[in-house]
């Protein structure tokens, strides 16, 4: 871990200088809130899949990065994975969020695992596999995470194309009526007792 702190611009320059054209569209976004308007810093970079692991190695040289989560975005023609990191935590008002966007073609949805570099990534990589249908190469634990065991294969909830959730799987809970196979409620009894609480309905 290197204890010299780089400014956001130096950070971007360091990455672009090291990886050149493989990094596109680097952006530094700041946002100031509260009465004193102290700004916070977010860096966004789009990177090629091939340099995902070297990029994280460089990030680790600067500061051990905290991986918040890997997010995804199905834009239609491509699937974009966002690796959301933060570095320089523990420095008051000094934390910088670094997000690497990795665009993937729908025909080749594979990424290398980063769990050998950051062990905490397994959890979120497992989720990406089941939610987006990507393949994480070399993942130490490839089981499903949140979806039930009998969830249909080839359906990925967060995809927006034909592999997304089909309409037939959606259950409209509000449409359900009173079950018909139960005995009718004692209507006469209800009319007799006026004090019956209205908000709690008794059902037999």
């Amino acid at each position: 871990m290197n204890e010299t702190l780089l400014t956001p611009q130096e950070l971007v320059d360091r990455f672009v200088g090291t990886f050149g054209d493989a990094i596109t569209d680097p952006r530094i976004v700041t946002r100031a809130e509260g009465a004193k308007k102290n700004p916070n810093t977010n860096i966004w970079m789009t990177i090629d899949r091939g340099i995902l692991k070297p990029v994280i190695n460089l990030l680790k040289e600067l500061y051990y990065p905290h991986l918040s989560v890997i997010s995804g975005w199905d834009t239609g023609e491509e699937l974009r994975l966002q690796y959301i990191f933060s570095i320089y935590y523990g420095k008051p008002h000094g934390e910088i969020m670094v997000t690497f966007t990795v665009p993937l073609k729908k025909t080749d949805l594979t990424v290398p695992t980063i769990s050998d570099q950051i062990p905490g990534a397994v959890f979120t990589e497992r989720e990406k596999q089941e939610m987006y249908g990507i393949t994480v190469e070399g993942i130490p634990d490839g089981r499903r995470l949140f979806l039930p065991e009998d969830f249909p294969e080839g359906v990925y909830p967060l995809r927006k194309d034909e592999t997304g959730i089909p309409d037939s799987m959606i259950k409209h809970l509000w449409e359900t009526k009173r079950p018909t196979d139960r005995p009718a409620p004692p209507v006469t009894e209800k009319e007799d007792t006026e004090e019956k609480p209205k908000e709690v309905k008794s059902d037999e």
């Binding site: 976004v29 946002r31 100031a32 809130e33 509260g34 009465a35 004193k36 308007k37 102290n38 700004p39 916070n40 977010n42 966004w44 051990y64 905290h66 991986l67 918040s68 989560v69 997010s71 995804g72 975005w73 199905d74 834009t75 966002q82 959301i84 933060s86 320089y88 935590y89 523990g90 420095k91 008051p92 008002h93 000094g94 934390e95 969020m97 997000t99 950051i118 062990p119 905490g120 990534a121 397994v122 959890f123 979120t124 499903r144 995470l145 949140f146 979806l147 039930p148 909830p157 967060l158 959730i165």
Partner: protein
Amino acid sequence: MSDEMKKKPYVVPIGPIHPALKEPVQFLFEMEGEVVKKADFAPGQTHRGIEWMGMRRNPVQIVHLTDRICGICGVTHSLSFARAVEQIVDIEVPARADYIRVIIAELERIQSHLLWAGVAAHELGFDTLFYLAWRVREDSLDVIENITGNRINYGLVQIGGVRRDITPEQHPVIHKCLDGYRSLLGKMINLFLHDTTISIRCKDTGVLSFEKALHLCTVGPTARASGVVKDVRVDYPYAAYGDLDISPILPSAFGGEINGDVYDRIIVRLLEIEQSIGIIETCLKEMPEGGILWEPKLPKLLAACKKAHGEAVGRHEAPRGECLHYVAMDGNEAPAMWKIKASSYSNLHSWIPILEGEQLADVPIIVASIDPCLSCTDRVAVVRGNSSDLLTKEDLHRLSVEKTRRIQGC
């Protein structure tokens, strides 16, 4: 039984149902005698597909959906989501709203930590303390109800501000509650941290080393108890936290060194209650005058959201650690993508290293110690060879209580 049979490890599945709290989670323990050799867990028992549902609704509807992601973190998710959308649409939140957001977030931290303290005491068989913590927790719920109108699922945060103001008449109510907590805190710290039984049960139990905490990307009090200095409120100025002079709470604040055990997690959470009291008092004093909403008319707000393009990340330090919402919008009414990272999401995998090598009787308190809102396990099936016994949640709890009694006996 032959010697070989005796040595054979057996598998203990736990859950997924347990009466007290949060998500039902299923555990699988490979046991050797009383010692957990290997631990594994299966989350997702309460997977409702909220992200997917959100991508069919407009941002104002989603705010009310975010309230219902978790009933304890009522303001956490709505604040993170609102901050993400505000960055995309480029909404400037009035400063007064930022202060109200911080006040309600800190009240939530107080009630959440007290809730956890009660659960932890219950797991150790110290039910008197459980009832004490939950009784005083009601005071903070009363204040939250006074401000927001509801005890749970507050619906206070709106995109561009908050929906209700804090009036001068409400200040004495809040101060009365905070003063009550301040006078009570010494008693709570004495009961928790100077109690011999709690010390024996919690010290050196469920140790999460600094390296493991760092590498597994843990957040919040779990990470801080292991010495990882990380608190979004301090590191990354947002809402009114950037105006405040606060620093992350580490177990060393109570003297002694950082061990990363259950005891250290208790220290961090109890001292954070004190910190939250201070933050609320400062915010009440320094709250600027002004409006509380960027745009009170919902159709105008929605029209602005509909025009926006871009992606952003909203973060908030929840009672359990960093909560993160990633939102992408592409000019439609509903967001193009919405990803939620709750704080327990980052902490759950630290269960595996901290449970391995511990005794079955210590499992409830260790599981509860990272505050997954999952206190007890409901049903435990102990499989020995071909026969299987059912251990109820009560049995497991009884094991824990018996261990406490044994310690008290000696």
